[in-house]
Symmetry: C2
């Protein structure tokens, strides 16, 4: 198991403190495990407190031995009840709390403990910090991408006519897990779960669902209405596999197209259009277009190529993003989206996924996880991009 | 796919309204998908509003065609923005909101929309309702248990010396998915995720982690510090498989013990002690002991049998529950726990899991999902309870 090095963790804390100072925060509490993991190196049941002018304290409910092994922080304290933290903190005025994810009742109870302070959402700070990946983080994403490549290369060995979508998804997941895939993807949402088994064949690729994605899939039931289903995979239909991998908490996202026998049109041509959009947008990222400009550029290009009605879904189900940052969460900054307006900075990792959906017919598309740095882009998910015919 | 029948959904709504009346709520909003699924039959991206004296309205953001197919509710309305709900609701004084799960910022924004009302947590009402399972719900849990039985019976076919815990977990999950298992278990928590692949062998059974469970497991990394690991499974060590199954959103939980070659002591004897505790507690449920009394009874029995130091974990990591209700969530009412004091009512389904953990050696235990009704208990997870030697 790899643990985050001490310099790595303290450099994150230092950068956080600078942002806290800018936001006039005297201290900030991190209740949500994704963020305190980023800042401490452990995901044991804990609460992280970072004062702007002092050493952070990790309060651990369970299990402190592992927390101490995993986290290089100097102050790690065992608590039985959250109330015990009060003896470890100084009076403060402006206090950061993760108001975007911590439930209302928990915030109210916590405010009763820390007293009458001015609460500010501190999640925006960690989300900002997490945008740029360090060399250590990049290594873990690269490892996730490497597992992913092996999974995609395994598809032709197991894909057969008549197996169900979920059967194929399960087999791929089992294969990935044996290689170190952690099985769950993580998203910052009360209601949205990230399924790792997006295996859609033929018409199920055109089925929309609750998720903010051009394709939803049929899923297995009204209680799991997304992703792979009990539909049997047939010959000569498009098979879209969008399969996220998580290694040591870091995710990589990828989509490739498969078919048994042959891939029919419009999918073959549309897939090439997706590839063209994908690579032209990457060039425009390097040229410095902003998120919104990139999104608009991709939309116009899709229209020019004759796919305006199908690009990123059909009306009224079109989605308004082309790419999402990726790391500890499946969807993090930066985005390439209609309503985001910033340049795509150096050091970010994003999953770019142009897709076309044809009503009642199916979907096709490509997705790669890409690192932007030194005025270049680098594809981390470097699996063969040709349509694989089995 | 099975959809919840209209009578089922409206009977739940009627029972909810009675509880709302008691709690003096004029109306209640359900943002969390587990609860609005229970009350509407759909998990599309939506918000459910139930006025105490009128027909409920389901506001659907995405995707209304599926929501209408899945939900028998009469009023299903498409919205693009949450602000649009205001034209559908009457002025109210006391309003239910799911304050235990909805993030603080979302509650504040929502209050800005609905105006100056008195907010009350309405999750307690659905959690109370969901305690008793209907015949329809029981059918789905039984189906989950049936899949589970097939998975446990599949273990001897695939378990071999030298495979890793996660490899075995992945194979079992793939097998379960092909049968309809939905892959994720659901818990009502910001930080706690339910892993479905609790495969622990030998010493990893004694490793504690962040989760409130007697055994944690090593997991795959500091970012996934629970459950199966890369440890290779060896001969003559206890292999504990605690593998939840989810079918149409309904879960079943089960634990059985396996070994390659032979099961060493103390595990063989301790397993029999677990079975004795399991069945004696079930008898005491029928006799009418309260949750706390049942917990105390089990603790004393474990001590009498000579397992006081190992029962439900070793000090200081002992857990304070023996059983949890199960249904749409892995952990719901009722519990058999040290600090819960109510009788276990008729109509509930619970997972009872006496386990023994021996420091640095491993764990053993049994778990069954049980239905309590007509003054009897019925084991739904009726897999052979003998230790399986491969």
């Amino acid at each position: 198991m790899l643990y985050a090095p001490k310099e790595e963790i303290y450099s994150r804390i230092d950068r956080l403190k600078k942002l806290m100072e800018k936001a006039s925060m005297d201290g900030a509490f991190f209740h949500y495990k994704i963020d305190y993991y980023y800042l401490s190196g452990t995901m044991q049941d804990a609460l992280l407190f970072v004062p702007v002018d002092d050493e952070p304290t990790l309060f651990v409910k369970r299990e402190i031995t592992r927390a101490k092994r995993e986290s290089p922080l100097e102050r790690i304290v065992s608590i039985r009840s959250i109330k015990e933290i009060i003896s470890h903190i100084k009076p403060m005025k402006n206090v950061g709390l993760q108001l975007d994810v911590v439930p209302y009742n928990d915030v109210i109870k916590f405010r009763d403990i820390i007293g009458n302070v001015n609460l500010i959402n501190c999640s925006s700070l960690t989300r900002e910090l997490r945008k740029k990946k360090s060399a250590f983080e990049l290594t873990l994403i690269e490892r996730a991408s490497a597992i992913q490549k092996m999974v995609y290369e395994y598809v032709p060995e197991v894909l057969t006519e008549g197996m169900t979508e979920i059967e194929l998804g399960g087999i791929l997941e089992a294969y990935a897990k044996a290689l170190g895939h952690e099985g769950l993807l993580r998203v910052r949402s009360l209601n949205y779960e990230a399924y790792t088994w997006h295996v859609l064949s033929g018409r199920t690729g055109s089925i929309v669902s609750q998720s903010d994605s051009p394709m939803g899939g049929l899923g297995l039931s009204p209680a799991f209405p997304v992703g792979a289903s009990m539909k049997k995979i047939k010959r000569n239909e498009p098979i879209l596999i969008d399969f996220g991998i998580c290694y040591h908490g870091y995710q990589s996202d990828q989509t490739r197209m498969f078919a048994i026998g042959s891939m029919p049109n419009p999918f073959t041509d549309a897939y090439e259009a997706c590839r063209e959009i994908h690579y032209k947008v990457l060039e425009k990222i390097i040229e410095g277009l902003t998120s919104r400009e990139l999104f608009e550029f991709s939309k116009k290009l899709a229209e020019k190529l004759g796919y305006g009605d199908y690009y990123l879904g059909y009306k009224p189900h079109k989605v308004r993003f082309l790419a999402h940052g990726i790391g500890l969460e499946l969807s993090e900054f930066p985005f390439i989206a209609a309503n985001h307006d910033y340049p795509i900075e150096e050091g970010t990792v994003l999953a770019i996924e142009p897709k076309m959906v044809f009503p009642k017919q199916g979907a096709c598309g490509i997705e790669n996880t890409v690192h932007i740095s030194n005025g270049k882009y680098r594809i981390l998910t470097d699996t063969d991009e040709r349509i694989i015919i089995v």
